[in-house]
Amino acid sequence: MGPVRPGAVDGVIATRGLTKRYRGGQLAVDGLDLTVPAGSVFGFLGPNGSGKTTTIRMLMGLVEPTSGTARVLGLPMPRAARTVLPQVGALIEGPALYGHLSGRDNLLRLDAADPTADPRTRRARVAAALERVGLAAAAGKRAKAYSLGMKQRLGLAAALLRPRRLLVLDEPTNGLDPQGMREIRTLIRELAADGTTVFLSSHLLDEIEQLCTHLAVMARGRLLAQGATADLAAGARDRLVVTTPDPVEAARVLKEQGAADVTADGDRVTGEPPARDLAEVNAALVAAGVRVRGFTLRRASLEDSFVALTGEGFDVAR
């Protein structure tokens, strides 16, 4: 065991009752108790407007909480910003660049803004960061000529200018095409493999499911759940799905066979599978004269956990 790192004790990020009410009266974040374990890839999941960016702005000392506290790397924010932030790389609500400067000059400027960054190694670190995100060839081009994907990667490069203990990435794949999304996700996986704690916000369930070891779920400014991704997914049961032109009879037989929570929707009858061999269940259906078109077991996904958790689908389009 190495020396105890403050972040390892009570979470790389730890908030208690963190609340933000904007001037207009909008309660954007409401009593947030968040704990991000060291070394995790932590998904911060919630539909648009659920308070993810506001939370991140409070963690980074950009926005003053209305009440509650936030600690990052074990130190209170925003008070310890000068100690904490050099160890944190952040992408907040998309990239923002100086369009009239080259990608390289954008990074040189951000690095010069960090009073603890050594100017003697600045050029080398900038070059390495550009290389890392695959922008070395476009480094001399003005940032306003960059595509959205390139801007996003330049933003990531800024977060990688120095070795960081924590990366805070707010919807890093927003607005990208599938290819761009894949590239960014690959990069995040690589960074996480290096041992950096990654705090990743997203409104995309499958993104979080693919990348994250832990997650927290936000809705309307409140935290609905947090924990290891596997534990949360396990919270939902698998479902038996029977497709048949005889739904009423099928539902009766399934209940008879011990299936719980049976519901019929058109020609689909679903229920929690009983604790017996499913072949027997199927045989019972057939024996009762139910014409079975399909008989499948749908694995519980994270989405089912959400339905269980929130009583509604996780549909960001709404």
Binding site: G2, P3, V4, R5, P6, G7, V9, R57, M60, G61, L62, V63, E64, L73, G74, L75, A81, R82, T83, L85, P86, Q87, V88, A90, I92, E93, G94, A96, L97, Y98, G99, H100, L101, D105, L108, R109, L110, D111, A112, A113, D114, P115, T116, A117, P119, R122, G155, A158, P163, R165
Partner: protein, 292 residues
């Protein structure tokens, strides 16, 4: 914190090197001066003295009565090209110079808030006070640079188009050309310093909004408003406190001996503006929520 942490320890041990702030200042200056906007403004400022010089030259050749009206020193330009420096500054000081400063100062914080780069500077972490100081220093440097551009362009034009040599002060005495050059340099410094008031005001406005355009327009609007208010004798109680009130007193440097009272009042007023609006800008910026 008694718990040891390798990364924190390294950062704390080395600590932020104070001199490294110069790197941010340099970056800020380059970023500001590489904007097309700044270059256009400086270009216009460089063009004004050339324009004045050519017009005066053409009219002098045509035998027209030069100097009947127009900016101060216009009449003396044909006698000595060095006076074009004063003429050009007197011509640009009411509007072009403060407008250029107002645009740069108004844009300083609000422009970065507008495009969102402000949040990345602050998480770098630039530090709010440090960033504001660097912005302030940059705007002050721009005041000097803008004034120098006018003066240098005027000096060059004056030397090329008109005779130079010993020159007569407003008081009627004669001073050497070198002495004249030194006075011109002093004029540049005083004019640049007299722009600090509007620069401070602009920086304060810049902390109030997240729109670069709004901040620039407001600051330039303040320049115009101050000039208009300064026209009304009825406002005699207020006028001495307008940042533009003593602007043209730089001409007193061309008296022999130099007439100081208005110059001192003018510079004192700029210090007052710098203190009041500099503090206001700090109070605002150090507590502001950065939502862009």
């Amino acid at each position: 914190m008694s718990r040891a942490d390798p990364a924190t320890a390294v950062a704390a041990e080395r600590g932020p090197a104070p001199l490294w702030t110069l790197g941010l200042l340099r970056s800020e200056l380059l970023t500001t001066l590489r904007r097309l906007r700044a270059l256009v403004l400086l270009g216009v400022l460089a063009a004004v003295p050339v324009l004045i010089g050519v017009v005066v030259k053409v009219r002098a050749r045509g035998g027209g009565s030069s100097g009947a009206a127009g900016p101060a020193f216009l009449g003396q330009v044909t006698d000595n090209g060095l006076f074009l420096v004063c003429t050009a500054l007197a011509a640009t000081l009411p509007f072009f110079l403060p407008m250029a400063v107002g645009v740069v100062a108004g844009d300083a914080i609000a422009g970065e808030a507008d495009v969102g780069t402000l949040r990345y500077l602050l998480v770098a972490p630039a530090g709010r006070t440090r960033l504001l100081l660097v912005k302030y220093a940059t705007v002050v440097v721009f005041c000097l640079l803008a004034t120098l551009v006018v003066a240098a362009s005027a000096l060059l034009t004056g030397v090329l188009l008109f005779p130079v040599g010993e020159l007569m002060t407003i008081s009627g005495t004669t001073i050497s050309f070198t002495d004249g050059l030194l006075r011109a340099l002093l004029v540049v410094l005083v004019v640049a310093a007299s722009l600090i008031g509007i620069a401070s005001l602009g920086l304060f406005v810049s902390t109030l909004t997240n729109s670069g355009i709004a901040a620039m327009a407001t600051t330039v609007g303040l320049v115009v408003t101050a000039q208009i208010l300064d026209q009304f004798p009825q406002l005699h109680a207020v006028r001495p406190y307008l940042f533009s009130h003593y602007w043209l007193s730089f001409a007193d440097l061309m008296r022999d001996p130099v007439y100081w009272p208005d110059l001192v009042h003018g510079l004192g007023l700029q210090v007052l503006y710098a203190a009041v609006f500099g503090s206001a800008a700090w109070a605002r910026f150090s507590t502001k929520d950065i939502n862009t």
